[in-house]
Amino acid sequence: MAHWQHRLAERGIDRQLWLLVPALVFVIALFLYPFFYGLTLSFQPTDGGPFSDYARFFSDSYERGTIWITLRIALPAALLNVLAAVPIAYRMRGRFRGKRLVTTLLVVPITLGTVLTAQGLLNFLGPTGWFNRILLATNLVDEPVRLTHNYWGVFFSLVITGFPFAFLLVLSYLSGIDPTLERAAATLGADWRRRFTRITLPLLMPGLATTFCLTFVLAFSVFPSAVLVGNPAGETRVISLAAYQAAYEQYDYPYASAIAMIMGFVELVVIALVLAARSRFYTGSTGGKG
């Protein structure tokens, strides 16, 4: 007769799973419980039926529009961060002098923080900032280009804060691909372009998808920079700003919760789409790790 421990073991359950318990207890007590409280709150609006806050959001084009505005900022920013990280990380794989320095430099922007980035963008890209001064001094433009307090200001701030994350992740995924595969492709007659498009890129796609999701999540919840370097009443009125105003200007917590839930839902939809696309790529071992 099999020992009861043996039967559980067959299904993968044994004493080691206790190691999960602290983290689980933690997340359940301090996240799930408050989270579901917020969720229930969103169905208890100050007036109207359970779904009236959701209806309110979707029936008001100014509010509803924040979804599109946010996507219009977050999707390209996340995409650019990921796409820019690929060739750079690709260059960073081999051994070369100064590699450590360059990598450090690429990683350092994660320390900048939202406020310094915002202040810096306002100072640097502002109408009398160095950037415009150089353009004016070199006669490239006649009057200052406006790159802040609009879409571009927020976009740049998302690139500065998001790129280092994307770079670190892409570098790690890329280094997980066995370089021998590319060497094999070279001996089979593939030039670097086709080595990249036929071998490296397809193998990197799942990693890129994951990286995209993480940078997208960061970009989608953009808030302080949308206010500081964007146009928070107009083209950069992002959804988190709508939630923020509901919570902290109108003090309508149920409505704020409803918006936050919608926000989470939109994020999950995008992530689900990306992950669904990801599953169409090869996702197994790529030989580089282990």
Binding site: Y33, T128, N231, P232, A233, G234, Y244, Y248, Y251
Partner: protein, 386 residues
């Protein structure tokens, strides 16, 4: 019992509802939360009280935070029945938010007699107190604006009427600026002051009574390049020449020149028929603090409303003039204040304050509605214009 819903009643951590003694039974530790930048004016008063009355307040801590998150924090503490903030210093917005959420203790009329200084309020400060209802105690006051600010080197003769402003803006596109009202004191003062200047039907009703104001702002908006995210940036743009004319208040006129972020020679102008839209800072007591703390805070507030202490509110013109009570001369202010005001103050303020009517600002609900409409129609309108 485990986790109940956050708003279910918990166990009380001290007597919070009983009789409030004259003096706390035991010296209390007071945690002050400032969400209005008020400590710049009043921290000196509080420190002095504590040093003189260590039997009432043994220790004081200060924290500062942006206003909007205030209510959430107090709510969380009250939900758990563990309020540790004894005194909140806030502007109109935070005060009103707390009233609506039922966060504040009603100080009045119950403790009216303990706060004798309230009888000496300047008339407009008294009006601000009226606005506050029973929850807050006005501690500092200033007439605010709306004012226009400019550099004479760039703009020798500023417009002095609403029509002239519009015409000037039209003639000098992108050179007039004000910050998004929801994020800017001068911005919201300008917003609230326009109905008086333009003669709107109900200056207190942004939804139905501001037709001229909204039309004016929309028209003006055509010549505005963008609305910065804060007043500081409009000041910077004035200084660096990006903007030639911005909106301001008394405090924003004097203090940045003291700080050197705006050239000393900047001037102010007013529009014909303007009314001051006043502003004040309030002291409020969150519900759920012990009666000892209540007693201590009341004693502190009484102290802060004495003329000697009020004189400290002149500061460096930050909230010019600052004192909420009558007969507080600049000469009784600290020397540093006197020096700053002498150099950067404006003699014409006395006449302007005396010669123009004062109005209380919008109540919080109307203000949020005004912000909302401004965001949708004026600020957001910039998108459609391209």
């Amino acid at each position: 019992v485990g986790c109940g819903a956050p708003d279910s009643p918990g166990k009380s951590s001290g007597d919070t509802t009983g009789e409030v003694p004259e003096r706390p039974g035991r010296a209390v530790t007071l945690n002050v939360l400032d969400v209005a930048g008020n400590l710049q004016l009043t921290q000196g008063m509080i420190d002095e009280f504590v040093s003189k009355n260590s039997g009432v307040i043994s220790r004081v801590t200060y924290s500062k935070a942006p206003a909007p998150e205030l209510a959430g924090k107090i709510k969380a503490q009250q939900g758990a029945d563990r309020v540790d903030i004894g005194l909140v210093l806030t502007g109109v917005d935070g005060l009103a938010a707390g009233i609506e959420q039922g966060l504040w203790l009603d100080v009045l009329p119950k403790f009216q007699d303990r706060l004798g200084g309230m009888r000496n309020y300047l008339q407009p400060a008294a009006a601000m107190q009226q606005l506050a209802g029973n929850a807050g105690v006005t501690v500092t006051y200033y007439p605010s604006g709306p004012l226009l600010e400019y550099l004479p080197s760039r703009l020798p003769t500023p417009p002095t009427s609403a029509e002239a402003l519009l015409a000037w803006a039209k003639g000098n596109p992108k050179k007039f600026q004000y910050a998004r009202p929801a994020n800017s004191g001068p911005g919201r003062t300008f917003l609230m002051g326009l109905p008086y200047i333009l003669g709107d039907t109900n200056p207190k009703d942004p939804t139905a009574g501001w037709d001229k104001t909204w039309a004016f702002l929309k028209e003006l908006g055509r010549y505005v390049d963008y609305y910065p995210s804060g007043t500081a940036e409009t000041m910077k743009n004035l200084a660096n020449g990006t903007a030639h004319l911005i909106v301001s208040t008394t405090g924003w006129d004097i203090n940045p020149r003291v700080l050197g972020t705006v050239p000393k020679d900047a001037r102010i102008a007013t529009l014909d028929g303007f009314h001051w839209v006043t502003d004040a800072h309030y002291a409020v007591l969150p519900k759920g603090i012990s009666t000892d703390t209540q007693a201590a805070v009341l004693a502190l507030l009484a102290f802060m409303l004495t003329p000697e202490q009020q004189a400290k509110a002149y500061d460096e013109g930050y909230f010019y003039p600052g004192p909420a009570v009558k007969d507080v001369g600049l000469s009784s202010a600290p020397q540093k204040s006197q020096d700053a005001i002498r150099e950067f103050g404006r003699p014409e303020y006395d006449a302007l304050i005396a010669g123009n009517p004062t109005e209380v600002p919008l109540d919080a609900k109307s203000l949020v509605a005004a912000f909302n409409r401004w965001d949708r129609e004026i600020g957001g309108g910039k998108v459609k214009q391209g």
